[in-house]
Symmetry: C2
Subunit: 139 residues, 2 copies
């Protein structure tokens, strides 16, 4: 199902997917905080509402940024994980962290993380990505 | 005036400023498309509404990302320009462009631009930034 597009601008293309206050926080939890369950996202500090979370998870799945699989240990639970399309956003998210740390005196970004970011952000991006192994079901 | 904060997460900090479908498009017009007037932003392809535009310009000014000065050639007109806080978002915007170009087969991102982006994105960021000279009124 095609989304309506505002323009063919690459920035508008991206914002049509994650241009809101919540979507990147879900991807943050998945990619940076090793969260996998619906309840994990609910428990994140920003207090996302269940209807916004359900809507964003559906959209992220439709857009091919996350996949959901049944939990092997509990068939009634669903495990969410980022696809390579989502992992390709790591460099952008690192730039966001860098910018916010510069302008927010109360940032929670850990000092060592920011030092690694300054030193070699390509390496840091590779390290974060390497947690997610490629497999036939994780394209 | 302090904004209410959702958390001290650097990603949430950034999204509290530009986590919406429009703000980064205004910054795009200012930084990448040499737009300076209110009407320029209205005329951009995505058809922003006047009330959203007015709201976002006010917020961007409050957050120190843009400044407004009277047009020397027409005192009744206002010229908007990005501050260094906004220009510091160039690396992030370049990552967005790179990601969108990869996943959007109909992207309008120019081929030469994407090639420069692949080759040396720090240099490209410097080139874009160099259009905006520092001055006492452009901190």
């Amino acid at each position: 199902m095609a989304r309506p597009r505002r323009s063919s601008c690459p920035i508008a293309f991206a914002l049509d997917i994650f241009g809101d206050r919540w979507t990147l926080l879900i991807l943050r939890d998945l990619i940076f905080k090793d969260k996998v369950y619906y309840e994990d996202f609910i428990d994140a500090g920003e207090k996302i509402s269940t209807n916004i979370l359900a809507d964003r998870l559906k959209m992220l799945k439709q857009e091919g940024l996350i996949k959901s699989t049944p939990d092997k240990n509990n068939g009634r639970k669903i495990i969410y994980s980022p696809t390579s399309k989502a992992l390709d956003l790591i460099p952008m998210i690192l730039e966001i962290i860098d910018w916010s740390a510069k302008y927010d005196s109360r940032t929670a970004a850990p000092k060592e993380f920011l030092e690694m970011l300054k030193k070699d952000r390509k390496k840091l991006a590779r390290q974060i990505r390497s947690k997610f192994k490629k497999s036939p079901t994780n394209p």
